[in-house]
């Protein structure tokens, strides 16, 4: 069953076409990777899926609902971990999570339990009552992730979730996401520009470049299709360029620098 579907989706910002007629779908219960270099249009697509941006053209279905006409039903269906910081610095870690729990109507006992569990997983237990403004960039990122997972949604969107995280936290995080996926059947949609992450975690992958989908399928299919041994080679074969060398747009570049520096 298709739980996310985009058809002929377009987003224009003035003269830039950030997303250019993309069509693809994600099946219920899948872990799906949206792979592409900086500036490819991943965040813009996710914002349209999650009711934050109106598409210029095309249609979207999220859990059977249209984000433009049924935003409320769509919002009930997903959780999101944004690419950019979105915690409240003037509140404590615990207060940020508590706020989220109330917003998503999680019963009090479950809320407390999950907050404790997640704080452990992202290793912020000892800092739970500290103001977020005292946190490093990496700690804020971990808090953000804990918050996004708190309400166990039907679909979870993760926009470059592991950018700037150390390998250990990254592994914990993926273990937790996998177990949510297996135990509760949560559909996972994540964007990344790390090929190996997509290769290792995803059931299926869509590769986006310059706002268009250049290929989609299982990691194996993509490799077979291009007779490559790695996704890296497949990407090269599909787009004619090496993703590592793809120069990021100025803003994305700065944004990533900022995150790394704050860590």
């Amino acid at each position: 069953m298709k739980i996310i579907e985009a058809r002929g989706l377009v987003k224009k910002f003035d003269d830039i076409t950030a997303v250019d007629h993309i069509s693809f779908h994600v099946n219920k219960g899948e872990i799906f990777a949206f792979l592409g270099p900086n500036g490819a249009g991943k965040t813009t697509t996710i914002k349209m899926f999650t009711t934050l941006l109106q598409p210029t053209d095309g249609t979207i279905r999220i859990n059977g609902f249209d984000p433009t006409t049924q935003p409320h039903d769509v919002r009930r269906s997903f959780g999101i971990i944004f690419q950019d910081p979105s915690t409240d610095d003037d509140l404590t870690a615990y207060e940020n999570l508590e706020f989220h729990g109330v917003l998503y109507d999680i019963p009090k006992d479950t809320r407390r339990e999950r907050i404790n569990e997640l704080l452990k997983i992202v290793e912020l237990e000892s800092r739970r009552n500290d103001l977020v403004k005292e946190f490093s960039g990496g700690m804020k990122r971990r808090l953000e992730i804990a918050r996004g997972l708190l309400h166990h949604p039907t679909i979870i969107f993760l926009d470059e979730p592991t950018l700037g995280l150390d390998p250990q936290t990254r592994n914990h995080l993926w273990d937790y996401i996998k177990s949510m996926n297996q135990k509760e059947g949560v559909t996972v949609f994540f964007s990344t520009h790390y090929m190996e992450e997509a290769d290792r975690m995803a059931d299926r992958i869509a590769i986006i470049d310059h706002g268009t989908i250049v290929a989609d399928g299982t990691p194996k299919e993509l490799k077979d299709q291009t007779s490559s041994h790695s996704l890296e080679e497949a990407f090269l074969a599909l787009t004619g360029k090496d993703m590592r060398e793809e120069s990021a747009t100025g803003i994305d570049h700065l944004r990533n620098m900022r995150r790394v520096w704050k860590k």
Partner: protein, 255 residues
């Protein structure tokens, strides 16, 4: 019913957030008290003797309600306009994707900002007592809080509405200088509305703040220009309109 309870819980947590943020910001608290104190002292004592000579009345008695209103307007505007900070620092997205109608978010935020601003007004009321202000009747004086709340709601919602359409803080000084200052000066906060040139009088009539100041003054000093009933009615109408407009604009925010 379950739905209403849920909405109330969400409004409560939004309200609580505003209160916590405010109480954690000493600088903001002190900063927003400095201005009314300065106005009370400088104007009250500076213009006091002239006013006394001209009208035979005590100027502190006249301007204290105006300065109380002023402190509420500024705090309310600032808390409303905080939406821009939340936009810039990303927190707004957290509330915009939540499965809660935007009007609930808007109302929760507004109630939080209005509470903080009303408290600010109450504090300024006590400061004015120190400077020599005397309400006619201490028993009915607390009723003035009704008008303080109305002003607070009006300007918090107004700030939020404006902020919904702004990308950054650049236009903020313009709003203060070309909107808030004129509203304040032409509200009867600092001088009586009788005997004004006709054109200015018209402006003071369509300025919602005039009714707020007049209401507070009416309760505290038993002097009113429009009458308390009119004051309350006009404020209710303005608050409803601005809440509707604000909610509409807030609902349209993209991130």
């Amino acid at each position: 019913m379950e739905k209403i309870k849920k909405y109330l819980r969400v409004m409560y947590i939004l309200w609580l957030r505003q209160i916590k943020k405010y109480s954690r910001s000493r600088a903001r608290m002190i900063g927003s008290l400095a201005q009314p104190i300065l106005f009370l002292v400088a104007l009250g004592f500076g213009f006091g003797p002239i006013y006394q000579k001209a009208s035979g009345e005590n100027y502190i008695q006249f301007i204290a309600p105006g300065i109380i209103s002023m402190s509420i307007i500024f705090t309310a505007m600032f808390t409303g306009i905080e939406v821009i900070y939340d936009k810039q620092f990303g927190f707004l997205k957290e509330t915009l994707v939540a499965p809660v109608p935007r009007w609930v978010i808007m109302v929760g935020r507004t109630l939080g900002g209005a509470t903080v601003s009303t408290l600010q007004g109450v504090v300024v009321f006590f400061i004015s007592l120190i400077v020599g202000f005397r309400p006619e009747n201490f028993i009915t004086a607390p009723l003035a809080i009704v008008f303080m709340i109305m002003i607070a709601l009006l300007f918090t919602a107004f700030g939020t509405a404006i902020a919904s359409r702004m990308e950054d803080m650049q236009a903020f000084p313009l709003i203060i200088n070309f909107l808030i200052m004129p509203l304040f000066f032409l509200s009867g906060a600092l001088f009586p509305l009788d005997n004004l040139p006709h054109s200015i009088q018209v402006i003071t009539f369509i300025n919602p703040l005039s009714y707020g100041v007049d209401g507070i003054r009416g309760i505290l000093t038993h002097v009113t220009h429009f009458g308390l009933g009119t004051d309350l009615l006009v404020l209710c109408i303005f608050v409803s309109i601005i809440l509707l407009v604000g909610t509409h604009l807030f609902t349209k925010i993209e991130a």
